[in-house]
């Protein structure tokens, strides 16, 4: 009897499905799929998960406001584990097989360059890189792709802002002997070089006495830490981030590393600060994302909304992804189309009002990268607000020195 019921139920269900199928298909066809790929597992999964969280909030907000061109939006999330070949495959699959009409590339730089080439090859899809900070991705005209944009902080911007702050700090504290410890891939190498270049410009007597290049996701930093201790620098600059930074700090604490040298990093995010059990005070740190910087009601409201929804604090990657959707939203309205070339034309030079701007706005420059986002440097404290005494960076100076750097690199 039960078997008969099962068959009947199945037949009824199947019939209903057949009848409903065209409607379902139509509803699905109307939905605008946006592909998002990132690192969603491993020691730096925080990059991907905090990006995804922000995008899901944007999905709710945009759909509540009527979607894009009257169509509800839906994200398709994929985990590339940060592997370039996997990232390239996923980007193609998202467009060709999954039917995504827009892309959010939330990869770290290791994979973003691979995605960039896929976007260039496809030619017919708009893509916003939301997490790659390696400057050459958009600064180098040979690498820049016509329909790909970066809505993220950029290494060279941070390098100028950070170098000015750190040079002042180093002069005040008489810190001349420095060491570096950064992840061994494009972002770590390029951005460390940029920091050093500008740092030497502002503080010519600085001396780099040792450097360490641990692998991304390396479980043990002991030999790196002991090497740094042996070299006896007065200060250490590091671009480690997420789980790597947490492990480095925990292992550094074992050696009392932070009592032996000043540490400076632009990569301290809220959840990392919260996850590090014994956060040393006085690390010189960029703000990445802070609810209190810029200290505006809109910024505080966004940070609190994120915290309420996810029971966790947003990261730098969260605001960048949220901002990317603001850019898409405004560009689609302006272009009244999803056509990649039309969107590219609309995005170029676009200015959006946003809580994350230094003056409440952020601009997409004609070299496909954003300027005007909030950059500040201060020092860590073990309790909230985690970073205090924040000094705001001067965007005029950043752009002036970025232009010089671009000329040196023969990008312009």
């Amino acid at each position: 009897m039960s078997g008969l019921m099962t068959r009947r139920t199945m037949l009824a269900g199947g019939g209903a499905s057949l009848l409903a199928a065209p409607w379902v298909a139509r509803a699905e066809a109307n939905t605008l799929r946006i592909g998002m790929q990132s690192i969603l597992s491993g020691p730096i999964a925080l990059l991907g998960t905090s990006s995804r969280n922000a995008l899901m909030m944007e999905q709710d907000r945009i759909n509540a406001a009527g979607g894009f061109l009257g169509r509800p939006i839906e994200f398709v999330f994929r985990d590339s584990k940060g592997q370039p070949q996997e990232a390239a495959r996923i980007a193609r699959e998202l467009v060709n097989s999954t039917g995504c009409e827009l892309l959010i590339d939330a990869e770290a730089s290791s994979a973003s360059f691979a995605v960039q080439e896929v976007v260039r090859d496809l030619g017919s899809i708009a893509c916003i890189h939301t997490n790659s900070e390696t400057s050459s991705l958009t600064a180098d005209p040979k690498i820049r792709a016509p329909t790909a944009f970066r809505v993220a902080r950029q290494g060279v911007h941070d390098a100028v802002a950070g170098s000015i702050y750190l040079a002042e700090y180093a002069n005040a504290k008489k810190l001349n002997k420095w060491a570096t410890c950064s992840p061994d891939y494009a972002y770590g190498r390029d951005t460390t070089a940029q920091y050093l270049q500008f740092f030497k410009q502002f503080k010519p007597d600085v001396e780099l006495i040792t450097e360490a290049w641990p692998k991304l996701g390396q479980p043990d930093f002991t030999e790196v830490i002991t090497k740094l201790i042996q070299a006896k620098p007065q200060a250490l600059f590091t671009l480690l981030y997420a789980g790597d930074l947490s492990a480095f700090v925990n292992q550094g604490n074992v050696y009392a590393l932070f009592a032996q040298m000043t540490v400076a990093t632009p990569n301290v995010d809220y959840p990392v600060l919260a996850a590090i059990k014994n956060l040393p005070a006085g690390i010189q740190s960029a703000t990445r994302y802070l609810e209190t910087f810029p200290n505006t009601p809109a910024n505080k409201e966004w940070g609190q909304a994120y915290l309420k929804k996810w029971n966790d604090r947003p990261t730098n990657w969260s605001w960048q992804n949220s901002l990317a959707m603001q850019f898409y939203e405004q560009a689609i309205k302006q272009a009244n189309s999803l056509d990649a070339k039309a969107l590219a034309a609309a995005l170029t030079g676009m200015k959006v009002n946003t809580p994350f701007g230094a003056d409440g706005t952020i601009t997409m420059r004609d070299d496909h990268t954003t300027i005007g986002y909030a950059i500040g440097w201060g020092q860590t404290t073990p309790k909230e607000p985690f970073i205090v005494d924040v000094k705001t960076a001067d965007w005029g100076k950043i752009i002036e020195l970025e232009t010089e750097w671009k000329k040196q690199q023969k990008y312009i």
């Binding site: 597992s41 030999e223 790196v224 090497k227 590090i276 059990k277």
Partner: protein, 299 residues
């Protein structure tokens, strides 16, 4: 390449002590994992590609146990014992079905276990990294020996690992069980024909191997980030250790783990941009001179 820096380091006791301690801690934790790999291979001729999963789960179990009990000792015991039990279940439920099968079948089963447990860890503990934090008892300043820095926590870890190496070595050479395990490694059919319960023996081997990997994961948890998939990198290094030491040799695993640790410790000073590459060069050099590994038997 900075050979001057290495020369300067080797002539100062402070640098030698600090870097040697660094090499010892990396090497000893690696030994705990690699000992299981080599023991299982030696006895069962199974290359356990899922061994990194034991290390990862040991760390996560210890993390949760610490949160529940507030005792690091209990957390470490929980990590080690749970993985010993998991080793038995893994062997009985899966590996025992592929003894003597094609190595690809064994690889497939191990890889499936890796993927399944990476995803389960994501579901249970979340995809982001976790940090256990240093136990209160070890939140003390480092010791200074001959001018070198030696963290008390690492000194204890090295001591525990060294003790286990001694117990394992003596256990295999002096006890009846150890002798049986060694006999099974050479001729399992004969051991079985003599009436030894090889089913139990194989399960014990997996329990010891799994327990050691779980212990390493739990011991390292206060200083290393916990994240899904973290077993992979240690697995690769464990295989390098096993190959250099000689497949199936515990003494070889110890010597080669310490060798890798020292290459890391001192290599990072001389070759800061090529430390990982250096390990593979050591492996190639050893295999060119002794293809069976340092302590391996020629087949």
């Amino acid at each position: 390449m900075d050979l001057d820096a290495l020369g300067a380091c080797l002539t100062t006791s402070a640098c030698v002590v600090t870097q040697a301690t660094s090499g010892l801690i990396v090497g000893m934790l690696l030994f705990l994992v690699a000992a299981g790999v080599t023991l299982i291979f030696g006895v069962l001729k199974i290359v356990n590609f899922a061994h990194g999963t034991f290390y990862m789960l040991g760390g996560y179990v210890a993390y949760s146990a610490l949160a529940a009990t507030d005792s690091y000792t209990l957390a470490v015991l929980a990590g080690a014992l749970s993985m010993a039990l998991f080793g038995v279940l893994f062997e009985r439920a899966l590996i025992s079905r592929v003894y003597g099968s094609n190595v690809l079948m064994q690889l497939l089963i191990c890889y499936a276990v890796v993927l399944i447990f990476d995803d389960l860890v994501k579901i249970v503990w979340g995809p982001e990294f976790h940090a256990m934090g240093m136990p209160l008892a070890f939140q003390v300043p480092p010791l200074f020996i001959a001018g070198g820095v030696v963290p008390p926590f690492y000194a204890v870890l090295i001591g525990i690992a060294a003790l286990i190496a001694i117990v394992l070595g003596l256990g295999l050479s002096m006890t009846r069980l150890g002798k049986t395990v060694r006999a099974a490694a050479i001729n399992p059919q004969m051991v079985s024909a003599l009436g030894v319960n090889t089913t139990l023996l194989f399960a014990i081997v997996f329990a010891v191997g799994g327990g050691l990997a779980g212990l390493a994961g739990a011991l390292a948890a206060p200083v290393r980030s916990l994240s899904p998939g973290m077993g992979f990198s240690i697995l690769i290094e464990s295989f390098i250790v096993t190959v250099i030491g000689g497949m199936g040799s515990i003494a070889g695993a110890l010597v080669s783990a310490l060798l890798i640790g020292m290459v890391r410790g001192f290599g990072t000073i001389a070759f800061p941009k090529f430390t990982d590459g250096l390990i593979y060069i050591v492996m190639i050099a050893v295999l060119l001179v002794r293809p069976q590994g340092l302590f391996g038997r020629r087949s």
